[in-house]
Amino acid sequence: MDIDTKLQIAIYTQLFVAGAVLLAINLVSPSQLEEYRLWEIFPAVLASIITTFGLRHMKELT
């Protein structure tokens, strides 16, 4: 398996884990998630995207 495929798997795993955690919290205590807005999640998502795309482009450029 090449590094690109592994990185893709890594992104989907990250998204899946993040989604699963939020879903689990929502099931246990829905009111907790209602207090949070997008800006508390979005920097983390943005930073993850930077890492993943950075690593993919590093491979392309070298």
Binding site: I3, L7, A10, Q14, V21, A24, I25, V28, S29, Q32, L33, E35, Y36, R37, W39, E40, I41, F42, P43, A44, L46, A47, S48, I50, T51, T52, G54, L55, M58, K59, L61, T62
Partner: protein, 414 residues
């Protein structure tokens, strides 16, 4: 009170001694453990990726871990918090469960000190130390310029800029910044590094390390090459003792800073930037210069820049996962933007210097300065001159001046 002292002079001396022990003991840990690992047949690649990579950031890392555990154990019941409010545990500042004013203040002070030390150390390395390394390297080779390899710029320097940018994005108080831009009001740009942010940073460190492991074995092996230990048990014991010295000195240093903040009113991040930030850059500088003397520029710069990737990703990441951090304003308003911009401009310049030179040559010829035009035309990509290195060194002092003059307070009440 620190070790029974409260007066400024002894406490100051204890603080200075603790930084020196922190940095020197970390060096001992790395060298001894490298020898021991080599003795037991662990490959040079693995040694480079674990002991060397983490070891060069050990002073910052241990400061973060000790500080974070201090915050975690200061107040509140962590287990009941985790079980009763998992979303808050993941997405909020730990400050929300700290009930006593002392522990809330300590949370801010420790956060500011460890983050200031970490980012301060990165700024010193990316400006002053990098400038000195390029300068010395050019002098040793008797040249007027220094040639970066394309591989280094893409695989080391660009990720370093990426980590700084990521830290900035995660550390900003987005609602406040957006509100300030559109509605005015008070700017309190320092946000919170939450546990989710910490997980992203540590996850990125693991991904980057894995990427290097799969694609760059030979160079990594060079970084991990060391003589095997002839007395592995003694070296292991000395390494463990030095590790205790690292942890102990980190604890003492944080107490000194808390006392200094209370007595002088200086901000924690400024103390971190000016003390640990400077001293903890020394080992990288010594490693880099000694690498140059042995003719291995790649290793010198690799160690220097590699430590700037480990510092934010692993040290800040792990600390945030443990305790979360309150981010001081100057960090996101000056330190991190200045660091990102310097790296971004240098990177863009290195890859477009040829084109910039040709453009300037046309302008110079247009005004009849042919000599200057010839020099512009001779400009090549990925080459930095001694003057450029000097500019990096000057930039460090500009950074310090602005930091001390305009960014004196860590936290602004909105």
């Amino acid at each position: 009170m620190v070790l029974g002292f409260t007066a400024a002079l002894p406490v100051g001396l204890i603080g200075l001694a603790s930084i020196l022990v922190l940095v020197y003991a970390a060096e001992v840990v790395v060298s001894r453990m490298q020898g021991v690992a080599k003795h037991y047949g662990i490959s040079e690649v693995v040694i480079a990726m674990t002991i060397v990579s983490i070891g060069t950031s050990l002073p910052e890392l241990s400061l973060h871990l000790v500080g974070s555990f201090n915050i975690l154990l200061s107040d509140g019941n962590i287990l009941s918090y985790l079980l009763s409010q998992p979303a808050s545990f993941l997405l909020d500042s730990f400050g929300v469960v700290l009930s006593s004013p002392e522990s809330a203040q300590s949370f801010k002070d420790v956060s500011a000190t460890v983050l200031g030390s970490n980012i301060g150390s990165d700024v010193v390395q990316q400006t002053l130390v990098l400038g000195l390394v390029i300068f010395s390297s050019s002098l040793i080779a008797d040249k007027h310029s220094f040639n970066f390899s394309r591989k280094f710029l893409i695989r080391d320097y660009a990720p370093m800029m990426g980590t700084t940018l990521m830290t900035l994005i995660l550390a900003l108080n987005w609602p406040n910044v957006i509100n300030f831009l559109f509605n005015g009001g008070k700017l309190a740009a320092g946000g919170t590094l939450t546990r989710l942010d910490g997980l992203v940073l540590v996850g990125s460190f693991v991904a980057y390390t894995y990427y290097l492991y799969t694609t760059r074995k030979e160079e990594l092996a060079e970084q991990g090459s060391s003589d095997p230990s002839t007395r592995p048990r003694i070296d292991f014991a000395v390494g463990i003792l030095a590790m205790f010295a690292v942890i102990g000195s980190a604890e003492v240093f944080l107490r000194v800073v808390e006392l200094a903040i209370a007595q002088t009113g200086l901000s924690g991040s400024m103390i971190g930037v000016a003390s640990v930030g400077v001293v903890s850059a020394f080992p990288e500088m010594i490693t880099a210069i000694s690498g140059l003397r042995q003719g291995s520029e790649g290793i010198s710069l690799g160690t220097l820049i590699g430590s700037n990737i480990t510092n934010p990703l692993l040290a800040i990441g792990a600390g945030s996962v443990i305790s979360t951090y309150a981010v001081p304003g100057p960090l996101v308003l000056w330190d991190l933007p200045m660091e990102t911009a310097t790296a971004g401009i240098l990177l863009a310049y290195m890859f477009s210097k040829d084109a910039v030179g040709d453009y300037l040559a046309v302008v110079a010829r247009g005004v009849g300065m042919d000599g200057l035009a010839d020099r512009f035309e001779a400009m090549e990509n990925r080459v930095i001159s001694i003057a450029g290195a000097g500019l990096l060194i000057v930039l460090y002092f500009v950074y310090l001046y602005v930091r001390f003059k305009y960014f004196q307070y860590d936290f602004v009440e909105v």
